[in-house]
């Protein structure tokens, strides 16, 4: 096992000072004068907890306070932020959550909501107060095959939703690659898949929501009913209510055909990805790399007709190679650079491991992959998962994409010997209020583009400061280029004001204060 400590070159040259972080973490000066390092928020002091719990128990709300239970909720998928709730409640109904939030407002007890817990910056970690585990609300309520919608409890995992929909031959539109994410958590932050270039982010498939507001009102909202709340809660980072139920559009389930094109140049691959996204040339597309050497543009199709048109019209316009041609190029490249044999072997080994894992025979039928979301979701955990998930990202408008990703790639190279980039596009659904202060960059038109920068940590133990410094450098690109991020809450919330500017942040802060007077719902995520 290797241990890498913070390197002085890797960390910012700003000298650490004793300046305390301002109480308001999104204050304009929140990151000035302090070292480039985020830390866990202070734990809530527990004042009023017993009375709060007593009030809940009097109303038949179960609160688990055993240490064994609370400890299981100590961190999120990121594994860098650690906290401990005072107690945990398993969500069972909107009425129960309403009771909890009303009492929380009265007793000023923070309530932190957890779905799949796939946050990476501690957004779903409770630093004291009550942890509300939404996974208790994990059932599909009804499937409407005629109107092609599903109504589901919001704590459901995407995988479970898919499992139920599949019995009707249906599928959701778009979900994150990771199927242990919850529907509610995803709608609150965005949700990107390789079909997002065509179908948008997961949040855009919501037709209506049932929401419990921070003051405990249970409200239904949609584009026509209470649209303000609807727009505020979607991509709202859990600041304006708890999503308890969602009605979402669904589609017919189809096995898909996949093709891979290989690039040696990141720029070429990114430009071609943008071409395919812009021209709606594929049903699914994205880039997955091994370092910046083996760059794989993946395209997939729901129908033979779409596949045929792609090969007729678009294949010759993209520069990617088939596997044999690319293998030859790589062989030539490394023959001329024998001192890089280690890298060549790594690429070969990784390819050999990944290829069968992404094409398991039990998921293949007539040359098509069935349940590709399950295959991808599982392999994401197997090949990129770990106790620490370090995945800083950038979400940018079309014109800034190539530069932003090339700069991010250079940061990855500087910090880690092994890493992956995962890039795709996101179709926008017009100009929506929900996009303000969200993963959709303010200057994006029609499409946004994103990239996750994921180091392969392996058995090497990196210090938290080292990983944080890496993330900071990626996030600094966003500040410099005025982009956005898929994830900007939790430990990274100091970036919110820097990247978005004062106006939208002040506007949202005022809305938050009005909707959540005691500021108890999901504290430390954004506000």
């Amino acid at each position: 096992m290797n241990t890498t400590n913070v390197s002085s070159q890797a960390l910012s040259t700003e000298a650490p000072t004793q300046t305390a972080m301002p109480a308001d973490h999104v204050h304009p000066d929140s990151l000035k004068g302090i070292s480039r390092r985020q830390t866990n928020p202070a734990r809530w002091n527990g004042e009023g907890w017993d009375v709060f719990v007593g009030a809940l128990r009097a109303k038949n709300v179960e609160v688990r306070e055993k240490k064994q239970t609370c400890r299981v909720y100590a961190t999120d998928s990121g594994g860098l932020a650690y906290g401990m709730p005072h107690g945990v409640t398993l969500a069972v109904s909107a009425e129960q959550i309403s009771t909890i939030l009303k009492e929380a407002q009265t007793h000023r007890v923070p309530v932190t909501v957890k779905g799949g817990g796939l946050t990476t910056e501690g957004e779903s970690v409770a630093f004291g107060g009550l942890q509300l585990d939404m996974r208790g609300m994990n059932r599909v309520i009804s499937v409407d095959g005629k109107n092609m919608t599903v109504r589901t409890q919001a704590g459901i995992h995407w995988h479970t939703l898919a499992e139920v929909l599949r019995r009707d031959g249906l599928d959701y539109l778009s979900a994150p690659l990771n199927l242990t994410a919850s529907v509610g958590g995803t709608l609150a932050v965005g949700g990107i898949d390789i079909n997002s270039p065509r179908l948008g982010c997961s949040a855009d498939q919501a037709v209506s929501l049932q929401v419990v507001t921070p003051t405990g009102e249970i409200r239904e909202c949609s584009e026509s009913v209470d649209p303000e709340l609807f727009e505020r809660v979607l991509l709202g980072y859990g600041q304006f209510g708890v999503i308890t139920e969602a009605v979402m559009r669904v589609r017919k389930f189809t096995p898909i055909t996949m093709h891979y094109f290989y690039y040696g140049s990141l720029r070429d691959a990114l430009e071609d990805l943008q071409l395919l996204v812009r021209e709606d040339a594929a049903d699914y597309c994205g880039i997955l790399t091994i370092l910046d050497k083996a760059i794989n543009l993946l395209v997939a199709f729901d129908s033979d007709e779409r596949e045929r048109v792609f090969f007729e019209k678009w294949r010759n316009r993209i520069r990617g190679h088939g596997e044999p041609a690319f293998a030859l190029r790589m062989a030539r490249y490394y023959c001329l650079r024998p001192w890089r044999i280690g890298e060549a072997l790594y690429l070969l080994g990784r390819k050999r491991a990944l290829e069968p894992a992404f094409n398991p025979s039990q998921y293949m039928e007539n040359g098509k992959i069935v349940d590709r979301a399950v295959v991808f979701g599982n392999q994401v955990w197997k090949f990129w998962g770990g106790k620490q998930m370090v995945i800083p990202d950038l979400a940018v408008s079309a014109g800034k994409y190539v530069e932003a990703i090339e700069r991010g790639n250079a940061v990855c190279k500087k910090y880690f010997p092994r890493y992956t980039l995962y890039c795709t596009g996101i179709k926008l659904s017009g100009r929506r209020e929900r996009y303000e202060l969200s993963c959709i960059p303010p200057d994006a038109v029609d499409f946004a583009y994103g990239c996750e920068f994921e180091p392969i940590l392996g058995d090497t133990v990196y210090s938290r400061e080292y990983l944080q410094a890496f993330k900071n450098e990626i996030y600094d690109i966003g500040v410099d280029m005025k982009t956005s991020y898929y994830r900007f809450g939790g430990m990274m919330k100091g970036y919110v004001r820097r990247v978005f500017g004062d106006e939208p942040v002040d506007k949202h802060l005022a809305m938050k204060r009005a909707d959540d007077p005691a500021m108890i719902l999901n504290p430390d995520v954004i506000f």
Binding site: V72, H157, Q362, E365
Partner: protein
């Protein structure tokens, strides 16, 4: 090597929990999770608790809730031996809380097994007609019935967390020296038999019968074929392809999930320790049947047949009843 001196379970098995990343993929296939939505009652909750320093006594409810179907094992990206872990923790729990009950076997001299032997398991032994039918199908292929009552008893106790008596274990292993293949209807035994008798081929009853062309031919596209979950997950890497081929060849449906694990009813669970949570086998059967148009359930496990017979309007048969 454990305190009992047997090599049934060892520290390597238990140490797997350290690798858990908390991804929660195991919960997606867990029948306990499906019915309770409570992470504390799942493998994921148990491994996280162990990582936090908790012990089996802190996990009593969780350990008793598990039906040991094993569906969490094949999907775990960290490769945690989930069934081994839970079994071992149950044994530790029994040792810490109960009267340290080693499973004393009666003074029975085992018959010497040779060639291909069939362990019908306790549920099938109680159904003489079905047992004879299965034997008629197995005997032409050279398999002989083995008096396995004692082994079934041992399996039940092990499932409840009682370690086998080392003396009995030694006797059993030596009595199996001549066996080339064991066909075991009780899927719980598969992983243990493979561990104890590394040179012996261990297969399930369903798999063995499905290798007969007449059985496979008798399956209809409208059948729902119920794979016995424990044996399937104990040899998932091989059997997932076996059953998938069978599905493609016959057109029948399987009780598999999106993860290609077998959805269990949990009816074979023999854990008899009291606990607050029990998987409702009928609820599992309703979920398996939900929106799956089928007029016949073909089950590998006798325990599953009993549950599906409670479902209205569906014919239920054992795989051994597919041909006369």
């Amino acid at each position: 090597m454990t305190e009992t001196g047997t090599e049934l379970f060892n520290d390597k098995i238990k140490s797997g929990y350290e690798n858990c990343t908390g991804c929660g993929v195991c919960m997606l296939t867990c029948p306990v999770w499906r019915q309770t939505r409570d992470i504390m009652l799942t493998t994921c909750g148990r491994t996280r608790a162990l990582q936090n320093g908790d012990g089996p006594q802190d996990l009593r409810d969780s350990l008793t809730a598990c039906v040991l179907c094993g569906s969490c094992g094949p999907v775990c990206p960290a490769g945690v031996d989930t069934v081994g872990l839970t079994t071992e923790l149950r044994m530790e729990l029994a040792e810490k809380t109960g009267p340290a009950p080693a499973c004393h076997a009666p003074n029975v001299v085992h018959g010497k097994a040779s060639g291909k032997v069939f362990f019908p398991g306790s549920a099938m032994r109680k159904d003489d007609r079905l047992l004879r039918r299965a034997l008629r199908l197995l005997e032409p292929d050279g398999a002989g019935l083995y008096e396995d009552a004692e082994i079934s008893d041992m399996a039940g106790k092990m499932e409840a967390g009682i370690r086998p008596d080392p003396e009995w274990f030694k006797d059993f292993v030596s009595s199996m020296a001549g066996a080339a293949e064991i066909i075991a209807a009780d899927g719980f035994l598969h992983r243990h038999l493979r561990q104890w008798l590394p040179g012996v081929r261990v297969t399930g009853l369903g798999e063995t019968l499905l290798r007969r062309p007449d059985i496979k031919k008798a399956l209809k596209a409208t059948d729902l074929y119920m794979i016995e979950a424990r044996g399937y997950h104990a040899d998932y890497g091989r059997l997932v392809n076996f059953y998938d081929r069978m599905r493609l060849e016959t057109g029948c449906r399987l009780n598999t999930s999106l993860q290609r694990t077998a959805i269990p009813t949990g009816a074979a669970n023999r854990q008899n320790r009291p606990g607050p949570v029990r998987v409702d086998a009928e609820e599992q059967a309703r979920w398996i049947l939900d929106k799956r148009k089928t007029d016949r359930v073909v089950a590998e496990a006798v325990e599953d047949m009993k549950i599906f017979k409670k479902m209205p309007g569906i014919e239920v048969i054992h795989v051994a009843e597919l041909v006369n």
